[in-house]
């Protein structure tokens, strides 16, 4: 099986596996207690915090661990809104944010708050002047923008958006789940969310960082854990493994990013050359190094994924017929690109070049057969 779905989850990094096994033995005790094994767990937890903070460009005391990237986003968005309750009740988001951001926005709206959604270009990049204008309006409490889009890989102008937010005195929540561990975090965030399993750490570890001086108030009942930002007992071994994976990725990223990006360029060039009526979407240059998405006209996305799976390729799709919602992807919709026949290819670290070549070899015939079944010549 060729695994081409790193954007859903990156396979566990060998360094993370090793660290996890070691930490299960020495880091299991309660880091909030005072005896020897507890102090050891506390030491491991704080060391992991310092390491992750350094790679992400945060201070250790700004950073807390959550149980997922989604939880980090929920806490980040709702906590920032809660902290700014007196300043305003409006939230500004891009139209292509991850569903965790949009669902948090939905909660805010349900509680009587306002949400303004800023559109994107056909590349998926947010309309920066519109974003800047929106955050400068009266009564805006918080803005949110992703570093890179999870479905099409387009990078967002986070540094510029952060500058606009800074001028307006509005905190910016940055969802860095797709880029953390692959690309440097752009400057200017007030709240940062990320997810360890996307960079090769274990599942169950998210990162929430709240910049010093940012007003933030947990929407949950009070709890002593994780600098009072995240409730519940810390998973010290998983956090240690997440730090090991991030450290390893940071060391490898320059070489591996260049290799993966060249493979993505090959897919971007070859798919439209080999398959008729295909649109490669997302920004060709300002993009994640490992992710490419294309849509095939006259193709049912689910059939395409099933056929690719049979041929030994794991990919994902934003087409509605492959999702539980029966709604087309809100990202593709906002971009105004084809929502059917959609395939997202995202390359994990260390993928053999041969896997990509075989994918490019089998794809044309699979698309042709799916079209034939729908009566398209």
């Amino acid at each position: 099986m060729a695994y081409l779905d790193a954007a859903s989850t990156e396979p566990l990094h060998p360094a993370a596996r090793e660290a996890l096994l070691a930490a299960l033995d020495v880091g299991w005790a309660d880091p909030a207690r005072l005896y020897g094994s507890a102090r050891r767990a506390r030491l491991l937890l704080d060391q992991a915090r310092a390491e992750i903070a350094e790679v992400l460009g945060a201070r250790p005391d700004e950073l807390s661990f959550t149980t997922s990237g989604t939880q980090a986003v929920h806490l980040g968005v709702l906590g920032a809104l809660q902290g700014r309750r007196r300043a305003g009740r409006h939230l500004v988001v891009s139209a292509v944010e991850h569903s965790s951001v949009l669902h948090a926005a939905g909660v805010h709206e349900g509680a009587g708050g306002g949400v303004q959604t800023i559109g994107v270009a056909i590349s998926g990049r947010v309309d920066l002047p519109a974003f800047a204008e929106a955050v400068a309006a009266e009564g805006v409490a918080v803005a949110a923008l992703q570093t890179a889009n999870h479905e099409v890989g387009t990078l967002q102008p986070v540094a510029e958006a952060a500058e606009a937010c800074r001028s307006a005195g509005v905190p910016l929540v940055v969802d860095a789940a797709q880029s953390a561990g692959r690309l440097p975090i752009p400057p200017g965030w007030s709240v940062l969310a990320a997810s360890a399993h996307k960079w090769g750490g274990p599942a169950g570890v998210g990162v929430l960082a709240v910049r010093k001086g940012t007003r933030w108030r947990s929407p949950y009942p009070e709890d002593e854990r994780e600098l009072r930002r995240v409730p519940g007992y810390e998973n010290v071994p998983a956090v240690v493994a997440a730090a090991a994976a991030l450290r390893a990725r940071a060391a490898e990223s320059a070489a591996e990013n260049a290799r993966l990006s060249a493979l993505v360029d090959r897919i971007r060039a070859e798919v439209p050359r080999r398959v008729p009526d295909v649109e490669v979407i997302g920004d060709p240059v300002d993009r994640l190094p490992h992710l490419v998405t294309f849509s095939c006209l006259y193709v049912d996305g689910e059939a395409l994924l099933t056929e690719l799976d049979k041929a030994g390729f794991a990919v994902s799709s934003g087409s509605s017929c492959t999702a539980s919602t029966l709604r087309p992807s809100h990202v593709l919709e906002a971009m105004g690109v084809l929502t059917h026949g959609n395939v997202r290819v995202s390359l994990p670290r260390g993928i053999p070049e041969d896997d990509v070549d075989r994918f490019l070899t089998v794809l044309p015939d699979i698309v042709r057969r799916v079209r034939q079944r729908l009566g398209v010549q």
């Binding site: 959604t117 006209l297 059917h340």
Partner: protein, 96 residues
């Protein structure tokens, strides 16, 4: 939900929007994407160049996919009109 593309709600007292006539109507109501697009691609040659085809569809994907098809195939997306019973009449002008 707030981030979904919706046609603007007409004011309560406004009359129902008048949908201009088309040279050909393709009824794809109840059909899931990509079927409405396939029907459109098959039949676009039936009208003269410059004429308008009306695609009736209620799969939410069609609202985005018919205009996207026009862009990819260099035809013109004229307008999408909301139907009183749900769905849209998506008007496409044959360009070549």
């Amino acid at each position: 939900m707030i981030w979904r593309k919706k046609s603007p709600e007409p004011p309560a007292e406004a009359p129902a929007p008048v949908i201009p006539p088309a040279a050909l109507t393709i009824d794809a109501l109840g059909r899931k994407c990509p079927i409405p697009i396939i029907m459109l691609a098959e039949r676009v040659g039936e009208v003269p160049v410059g004429a308008v085809i009306s695609v009736l569809a209620d799969d939410p994907a069609a609202f985005t996919d018919v205009p996207a098809w026009c862009r990819l195939k260099s035809h013109q997306h004229v307008e999408s009109y909301e139907l009183p019973q749900g769905g849209w009449a998506i008007h496409v002008r044959r360009q070549y």
